[in-house]
């Protein structure tokens, strides 16, 4: 009879790639080399970023803004960023928005994508076109502001979540992945009398861990990095998310004199800019490894055979 479909990792031995004898040494060396070059090109500037964030101000100015090897380590930039509690509070706001937002977004998007992936869904074509074309035309910031105002979300933290809860791109991708699942699985579930909800929850979702992780990550990063909507919709800076607060530390003006700082004496721009970058990346660095394992191969293996 029906067996519960469970995703099993194929017990593939680690060192053998796809059942084929390992590639020749030159090939492995070449691949390794290419990979090393890519990683180096990324890592070196990043080391510079971290170094600059802890380097002494004097050294930063003397080397024109980027330091690879700091003469001494000082956390003044980080201290100055966290002084006054503004950044700390913003951090909590961002965490809240990201966690709640991602959960809501995933739920709504998966439901929509699933519905759109079912063949013969009466409104499927229409809704898909609605979703698709929303990607091609973007509303202006002023009409969007008026809409958000109209639904009463101004000055509420939900203004950071609700308007951007659904990303058409993510829905289309989810739909494609759902449609890619072998039909036999869903068919056999239907034959066994499972309704749409059951099929969705117990069959489709467990098999889609990879794409769910990816899309979840996409949403999470989008929420984490968002700043512009907070700028427009939130007048009270108490509710500002991390990225918006951090942006205010970076002066991009071409005119130095227009800064009119008066008494303010901040540590030089570069170390603060780099510290900001480090702070905003750390949470992603912490979360990503947990999601990585869901990209593992073989999620679908054996599922069809049952």
């Amino acid at each position: 009879m029906t067996q519960t479909i469970v995703s099993r990792r194929v017990a593939a031995p680690r060192k053998i790639v796809q059942g084929v004898p390992m590639p020749s040494w030159p090939m492995r060396a070449f691949k390794g080399f290419v990979l090393l070059v890519f990683c180096a090109v990324v890592i070196v500037p990043f080391v510079g970023v971290i170094s600059t964030s802890v380097a002494p101000n004097k050294q930063i100015n003397e080397s024109g803004g980027l330091v690879l090897l700091p003469r001494s380590v000082s956390f003044a930039a980080y201290e100055s960023l966290f002084a006054g509690g503004v950044v700390t509070r913003a951090l909590f706001v961002s965490i809240f928005v990201t966690v709640v937002g991602t959960l809501l977004s995933l739920t709504v998007s998966c439901l929509l994508a699933y519905a759109l992936s079912r063949p013969g869904f009466v409104a499927g074509r229409l809704i898909l076109l609605v979703v698709l074309f929303s990607m091609l035309f973007s509303p202006g910031i002023i009409p969007l502001y008026l809409t958000v105002k109209g639904v009463g979300l101004l000055d509420s933290i939900w203004a950071l979540i609700v308007p951007t809860m659904v990303s058409a791109f993510n829905v289309v991708v989810l739909r494609a992945f759902f449609m890619n699942l072998p039909n036999e699985i869903t068919e056999s579930a239907r034959i066994d009398g499972a309704g749409e909800l059951k099929t969705f929850t117990y069959i489709v979702l467990p098999l889609s861990k990879a794409v769910l992780s990816v899309i979840g990550l996409f949403y999470a990063v989008a929420y984490w990095n968002a700043f512009f909507s907070a700028l427009l919709y939130l007048n009270d800076s108490k509710l500002w998310p991390l990225q918006l607060v951090l942006r205010t530390y970076v002066i991009n003006d071409a005119q130095l004199g227009s800064a009119e700082l008066g008494t303010e004496r901040l540590p030089p721009q570069a170390s603060i800019q780099m510290a900001i970058l480090v702070i905003s990346i750390v949470p992603i660095l912490l979360v990503y490894p947990f999601l990585q394992r869901h990209f593992a191969k073989g999620v679908l293996t054996g599922a069809v055979k049952g």
């Binding site: 084929v20 063949p119 609605v130 979703v131 009409p143 990585q292």
Partner: protein
């Protein structure tokens, strides 16, 4: 491979009956669709300002109609506009040829690594630049490759000729494309890696039992497994093809001059938004959207001809 969805037996049900039958699915689709309509289509109505001389203090209804005037900037052959269009097309071609395939190749490379741990570490490193804002990326490139940057300082102090990279107008398009590759390739591989993980590994085993080399496995198992998602993403990218970047370009426009750096979005900014001409920005946005629609529909049709699902099918 995207499998053809099996259609339910074609009964001649009335619309009402079909709605009733699919009521659960309709419920599923409701929140997402409502949100898109509320926060995307409703504000799109505001694009009517493309036909108006919009002033924020007068409001949308209070502003005067200006007919097609805002669109004239596109159609009157303004050489600055044509130059912007040309640069946009050049950049979008470069991006389609180099930026789009890069993550696919990288994903394939990562996928074929023999050590899971190395694969994961490499992935974690490679996506880091994605989180840097363009302000920082441009600053980093400048500090490494600029005229007074690390590379040139090193060359100069060793009496070698310096390389003019950052301010070089001829290299600018290449520079822009390289920056995008550097910044986003690692991140973009995530989606392809997920797609690769969906490929049934029994297919690989079957192929190797049949005596296929790694190369042939790549051609007959891996690539076909990715084909659907690649086509989907490419068509979506086409819809956006007139958008080639804004912040990245505006930050570097001053050095290389407008001739090589002006694209549609910066043109609209420099000639419209700066003077508070919101109507022009809306007009160009509308035109870009219409072009995008045409491209997507056409590309989707072409995909159908080749037997692919594309973004949506009949």
């Amino acid at each position: 491979m995207l499998q053809r969805a099996s259609k339910r037996p074609q009964q001649q049900l009335s619309l009402w009956r079909r709605l009733l039958r699919d009521r659960v699915l309709l419920l599923f689709a409701l929140p997402g669709t409502a949100l898109i309509i509320a926060f995307h289509y409703v504000p799109l109505l505001g694009n009517v300002i493309a036909f108006k001389d919009y002033q924020p203090f007068l409001g949308i209804t209070g502003s005067d109609w200006s007919g097609w005037e805002n669109f004239s900037v596109i159609f009157n052959g303004d050489p600055a506009f044509l130059r912007a269009l040309k640069n946009t097309l050049i950049l979008t071609s470069l991006q389609s040829i180099f930026v789009f395939p890069a993550p696919i190749l990288l994903a394939l490379l990562l996928n074929s690594l023999f050590s899971e741990r190395i694969k994961r570490i490499a992935q974690s490193i490679l996506y880091l630049p994605h989180f840097m804002s363009w302000v920082i990326v441009v600053a980093l490139f400048q500090q490494m490759l600029g005229g007074s940057g690390l590379l040139n300082n090193y060359l100069r102090s060793h009496d070698l000729a310096t390389l003019n990279i950052i301010g070089n107008s001829e290299l600018f398009h290449v520079l822009l494309t390289s920056q995008i590759i550097w910044k986003d390739t690692g991140w973009a591989t995530i989606l392809f890696l997920a797609a690769l993980s969906q490929i049934d590994s029994q297919l690989y085993e079957a192929a190797s039992v049949d005596g296929a080399t790694r190369m042939r496995q790549l051609w007959h198992v891996t690539l076909p497994g990715l084909r659907g998602i690649i086509i989907l993403l490419f068509i979506l990218r086409l819809g956006d093809s007139l958008t080639v970047g804004f912040e990245q370009i505006i930050l570097q426009q001053q050095a290389v001059g407008r001739d090589v750096s002006e694209v549609l979005d910066t043109y609209v900014y420099n000639n419209g938004v700066l003077g508070g001409a919101w109507g022009i920005a809306a007009a160009v946005g509308l035109v870009k959207g219409i072009v995008g629609v045409i491209l997507v529909l056409t590309a989707n049709k072409v995909a159908h001809i080749f037997g692919e699902q594309g973004v949506y099918s009949r």
